[in-house]
Subunit: 61 residues, 6 copies
């Protein structure tokens, strides 16, 4: 029944999303011994103007 | 003081959102005995390319 | 496929949780036209020392 | 290693975001005694049609 | 810079957590082409009395 | 109406939490021009066995 959320920078292709959810699902099943249909994943695209580290937006040089 | 978050597929009408937040607020007050103004709700629209089950995006047939 | 998260103060009884998830599920189905088995809910209990409003913890008088 | 998430109404300028993440980072470091580079912040813009209080969307008058 | 959150039932061993975060990190790097140190993961243990599907708590038979 | 969530390692004192929510509230008001009572904050304590970076739990040496 695991629910997975991924926050990542925007701009990923559909193919990258496809690969990501397959990888995360397979890895979760190997680690926890669950079946793939028990795994839900939600991806969230974050703009660089909305993510900061060390007090500085990634949108700023 | 409950805070409620709903993740759902994008495409809901304003009228559906209106009904949803009223239903969730009323149901929460009945269950927990709080007053409506204590209930905050945030809705999040998820694209089908960002939601996966069983390792497969909902955007994929 | 809605996923609902509720953050609330700790201390709710099992019976209140039972009523809450039934109310939220039924209200969501009425508002969005989905079936109950599509609705997932996760409840989170928050201690008063971990919730603040107006810069003040609810644990503080 | 704190991770901070802020949900706020959409419409903030880049300059407000810049100030916000600097303020949150500095305040966190003063309170917890960590270094700025340990603080990650993600901002989320919420539309008024997706935020409700007391069972009513902020988009509704 | 991906941040991953996993909500799962409580009761997982330290060894399962260890395997899970390694699997999720490796899979994310393969899918997105990032380096492992860019991946942060937070696991959350959910009690069966706090998770519901179809309007029914998993704690209830 | 900003809602702030902070995930941090467990073990912070009540005094640190008190200072943290005051700092975050004041900083948010300065940056966004809102009033303190509009700011809600939820703190979440994360165990070292539930936080990972670079595929490794912080609980592991």
């Amino acid at each position: 029944m695991p629910m997975i959320r991924v926050e990542m920078f925007e701009g990923r292709t559909l193919e990258q999303r496809r690969t990501l959810v397959r990888e995360l699902t397979d890895g979760t099943c190997r680690a926890l011994g669950c079946t793939p249909d028990a795994v839900q994943i939600v991806l969230t695209d974050i703009k660089k103007e909305n993510w900061a580290e060390a007090g500085k937006l990634f949108a700023d040089p």
